[in-house]
Subunit: 379 residues, 2 copies
């Protein structure tokens, strides 16, 4: 709870955007994005629609979280809402599976029974998020909340690096430039009068911020690897396995963090209509993120997260009536240009013109093969 | 003088960078840059060395201007130093010409005698800078100095647009993105706590800022057109014609603005060793800029100006011992990435892969032809 309280002290409208992080901290899910990029417009159109829908879902998520406060406080236990989100995702995955079984019958790809080899990798993302969440409490002892908010953008870079190292996916030079500029754009949108305090961060703070960025990047990359290892495996089965461990870890979190509160006041104490909407929204975004992980990739996720964050701030500024800063506007334009740059910058300009087809093959050398490599290392 | 005084009130270290603007306001010259870009590395190396040298010259320029103050004031008249700069440039051009005449003899290309048709275009850049300078006094009635500093970055965009419209030079989509991000990067480096005041700018302020950006862009583009109209004409002759009109306009400025001061205290009142160094530095930068205009282009100029500005701030922060802000660092990284992006982003990615040679030809369709068009329209 401590972390969320710290965030709330941040009176700035943008600050509220981050509350989402604590809500999701123990959840297995992540966030959607733009840009896998081959300039194939029919494929692109669909992707854009899906990603925009995801971003809207995500943007409203943060606003719902803020609205779920009463008298400036969260009356419900966050661990219980996280648990309910994982629960709902499990339920929805099972429901979808049941429909598929009825229409297509049970096959090798959509059956729920699994092998130890397949299932052993699924707790790992949940575990990584758990470690990250625990670290989050410690990092705030070395770093104030606005500073942490700025350093969290290192996620963007770490995802790019881990994507390259672990999944062996290459970005073109132009796409690397776009990724760094995306990170800068996000930092800029979050600039406040006290942002320079980040330079006072002690070494431990920096180390922890980098470790957290790597953990978060690794969890994302690892989830992608899991989803893509068995491309023909039904996504609902994969989701079910992912979320069932999410449920377990969240149950542990309830017991260790909020046991007394839940025992004394009841599990659903403080729930309102908005809380229910928020849970529904988080569950749907979670499922959408899984789709991005299976059918697109982590870089798409990073771009969507960033754009969704801006979208949230825009909507918040309208709802909560505060003025957007020049820094926010400049950063937003930068981020939007980065999305374009990532999309059209696929051709690696450092190598002489290859036929487009050959190049695209080169940029994504068999992701399934490399996801298998990493999964085999862990299982 | 009013304008420089306003600038000086801006206590921030970056503020001093802009003092250069008023120093140069009536001068015909402009500034150097990176990036004409065909990835021909031997050509590039030389260009980079020249541009880096220019940037160093420019960076030290602003610092010399600050150092030329005594007790926080400029004791000399700025109009007289501007006049001396134009004088020195004329002298150096003549000296260079004399050497060429001795070694190569007088030819059609290096003779000083000229036609009315050739010479009539040369006062125009000086006139444009004069109008811009006059407007500068008015704009500061509608806009505070930090706001003006931010809006001045519109120069970057206007130069790109006028470069396209008047000189008919195409930038690739990626280069356009880079140019907009360069503008954003520059704005970001200049962000201060009160930057949001720029939103309070009245409509007249915006209109004047845009008009000034267009004037400044047009002066640059027009100078490039003049320099490139006769590619074989010796650059020293062209410089001489350019600077002789600069001298005339600066003489007018002395008479209209500082006549009493010069009459009472003398022309060289308040000059110090630093003032002399400053004049020398400005003259050399001016000549270097002419070279950039003749052998590279305005976009190169815009990039160099931006990088030089950052360089100045870096050096100033060391000399005057102030801390760089997070905004400055973020903006600087953005600007550096834009330089790279402009350089490698030449291939237009919106059109399918052409052989490199054909593409380069396509991107710069006969600048001489188009410069002739604009000059003929004016002469």
């Amino acid at each position: 709870m401590e972390y969320r309280k710290l965030k709330d002290q941040d009176e700035d409208g943008n600050g509220d955007v981050d509350v989402i992080e604590s809500q999701k901290a123990l959840s297995v899910t992540n966030v959607p994005t733009l840009g896998d990029t081959t300039i194939d417009w029919s494929k692109w159109k669909l992707k854009i629609i899906v990603v925009v829908a995801l971003m809207l879902l995500m943007s409203s998520q943060s606003i719902l979280i803020v609205w779920s406060k009463r008298n400036g406080k969260y009356e419900y236990s966050i661990t219980t809402t996280n648990f309910m989100v994982e629960n709902l995702k499990c339920g929805l995955s099972l429901l979808a599976l049941a429909r598929i079984w009825r229409s297509e019958g049970v096959t090798k790809d959509n059956r729920l029974s699994t092998t130890f080899d397949e299932v052993i990798v699924y707790p790992i993302p949940a575990l990584l998020y758990l470690v990250k969440n625990l670290l989050q409490y410690h990092i705030l002892q070395h770093l104030d909340a606005p500073g942490y908010q700025i350093l969290r953008n290192l996620n963007i870079i770490s995802t790019g690096i881990l994507n390259r190292i672990i999944l062996k996916k290459k970005l073109s030079n132009m796409q690397w430039v776009a990724l760094i500029q995306l990170c800068i754009g996000c930092v800029i949108t979050q600039l406040k009068t006290n942002s320079d305090d980040v330079f006072q961060t002690p070494v431990q703070g920096w180390v922890m911020a980098i470790v957290m960025a790597l953990l978060s990047g690794f969890a994302g990359v690892y989830t992608e690897a899991i989803m893509k290892k068995r491309p023909s495996r039904n996504i609902n089965v994969q989701n079910f396995c992912l979320y069932i461990f999410g449920m377990v870890f969240n149950a542990v979190a309830i017991v260790t963090q909020d046991f007394d509160a839940v025992m004394n006041k009841g599990f659903f104490y403080g729930y309102s209509f908005i809380t229910v909407l928020m849970i529904l929204n988080q569950a749907l975004s979670g499922l959408a993120v899984s789709m991005v992980m299976k059918y697109a990739d982590n870089i798409v996720k990073v771009y969507s997260t960033s754009v969704a964050m801006l979208f949230t701030a825009l909507v918040s500024s309208y709802i909560f009536r505060f003025n957007l800063s020049l820094a926010f506007i400049a950063g937003t334009i930068n981020v939007i240009l980065c999305v374009y740059q990532h999309a059209v910058g696929k051709q690696d300009d450092s190598i002489p013109a290859l036929p487009k087809f050959a190049q695209c093959k080169g940029s994504h050398p068999s992701p399934h093969h490399s996801s298998m490599m990493i999964l085999n290392r862990w299982s």
